[in-house]
Amino acid sequence: MDNGQPLPEKLHDTVLRGTASAPGIAYGPAFIYNPADLILSDDVIKQTDIREEQARVDSAIRVVELEIRKIEQLSKETDLDDLSAAILEFQRSILKDPDLIGSINQNIRSEFMPADRAVYQAFRYYIDRLKAIPNAYFRERIPDIRDIRDRMIRSIQRKQLLIKIDDESIVVCRDLSPGDIILFARKKVKAIVSEQGGLTSHASIIANSMGIPFVIGVDGLLGNVEADDIVVVHGTDGYVVLNPSQERISEINLQIEAEKIVESARQQIAEEPAKTACGREFIIQANVELESELDRVQLYRAEGIGLLRTEAYFLDSDEHESSSNGHAERDQRTFLERAASVCGEHNLTVRLYDVGGDKLPNYAKEEANPFLGWRGIRILLDKPALMKSQLELIFSSVGTHSCKLSVMVPMITDANEVKQSRKIFEEVLADYPNLAGKVKFGIMIEVPSAALLADKLAPLVDFFSIGTNDLTQYTLAADRTNRHVQKLYNQMHPSVWRLISQTCDAAHQFNIPVSVCGELAGKPVAAALLIGLGVDRLSMSASAIPAVKEFLNKHTFEALSQAAFKISEATTLEEVDSVLSTFLGT
């Protein structure tokens, strides 16, 4: 909200204008974060440390890839422009660069460099070459390459960094990567302010979703702040105040109070039972992928987790690189245990690894069409040891908690896959007598064939969970990242709604619940209409819960059903729009 008006300075105050990037107001002592001064370890590692250092690199690659995927996912919910999408894809390919990874490992193995310096030196070769290129167009990618390098190094060094940041800090920096924000969110910093503004749009998306006030583009920031100076960050109006006067602090406190009232109104809505205007109740849950998202499950009173993604902790049991697997297994166990504990008495639905073949070490061949390829349950059934080891991990980590546990398998296309995966599930479960009869087994309905066969699959499972993102792209044969067909990709397409409706009917015929965990569930109008279509549970980003509940509270089930029915009867997207505007107009 930059209106160009100078803000009044109070006695001894310094007010610096920037651009509002994520709303909220906070003040506290400054923590100066300067990722430009990466300090690399300069020691030489021992022969016996080689494995460990290589495992740190593997883990950094995994973390940075997850961050990029998270950014892509959050950006899709806002609207990613073409250039950013291309850069994210470019950065992802860097993480797979065989020469780069080879050279990092070579630096560790033969030069005995510690992981961080091995990464730095491997990148240096390419950056130096690019710097020498006369065409500026190619040199422009250097910052994106450095970004990946620095994120890998910071991920390697992260443990040390985390110790230094205080919970109450205001992070003051020159520039920030999205990965940094995820890190700061985990440490619960109060606000972030950066001097630069250009390349931070992804960071802003994340700050918004994590609820951290964020101001960008503040000229002269670093020259004016010392560590531990008190800084006010006004993320709603886009300015910061350095060394605020007493008068300023009281004023800001009032504003913080006012924002708290708005936030508590949101939370109060979240406290209300989820029901329609006519009193029909249903369940709203949260989707979780990152550990830092777990805190928001309780904040917004989600009734458990409807989709816990585990891909970030993917570990292939064929790979006997024990040190790296040991890390990943411990990480996944911690994640599962924390998820189980925030669910309390509610339900926790864990989705088994939904990965493509490119994640497997002995499967170097990249597929021409990965979305129609070897992924999800197809891999799990071909590699039953992988599926078993994940089920064991889930049962042993969650089993002692009081939440109700559900496990679901991705990418089901027919009854055979359901029977085979259920058999493996029952076999593993038999080793946990304390869980006998207590764990639900469900499937994702995200391939049209599964929706069409829903009445045959329903008797074989305990619940359905509809993934609208994939269901839409498979039904409409449209990849939304392809701008030529983006218009076709619409989760409210009547054909998609018919499949959802059919799935709900089949489920209810066999008395099993249906949930929706795609993006559609987090958009208030669409979510309400899904309830009208017969969906029993919605699972969404936790921060979307208040708006969805509020909207549902205002409409009767009957009105929702009628509108939902009209959508599934529409023949074009224009008709869908007109049904929506009539519905919203009433």
Binding site: F90, S93, D97, D99, I133, Y137, R141, H484
Partner: protein, 90 residues
Amino acid sequence: MVKNKVTVTNPEGIHARPASILVKVAAGFKSDFFIHSHGYQINGKSILGVLTLAAECGAELELELSGEDEVEAMEAIMTLFKNNFSQNGS
């Protein structure tokens, strides 16, 4: 081993997006893939390597593939160049 000469014809050259597409397609084949340009040789499956070619529109490159699927790989890669790395060209 198969070799082929190509000229880069897309206006922006082998920039970030075309380079991502090129290495992705190349990774789909078992064959080793090298690109030669003015005595400089890079691994065609390495995105950073491909970028350091700084291949602008009009640049002439020599592609070299060797391995069991070298013929199919060459065909797929030549098609990419011919279609100016349009993802929907195939």
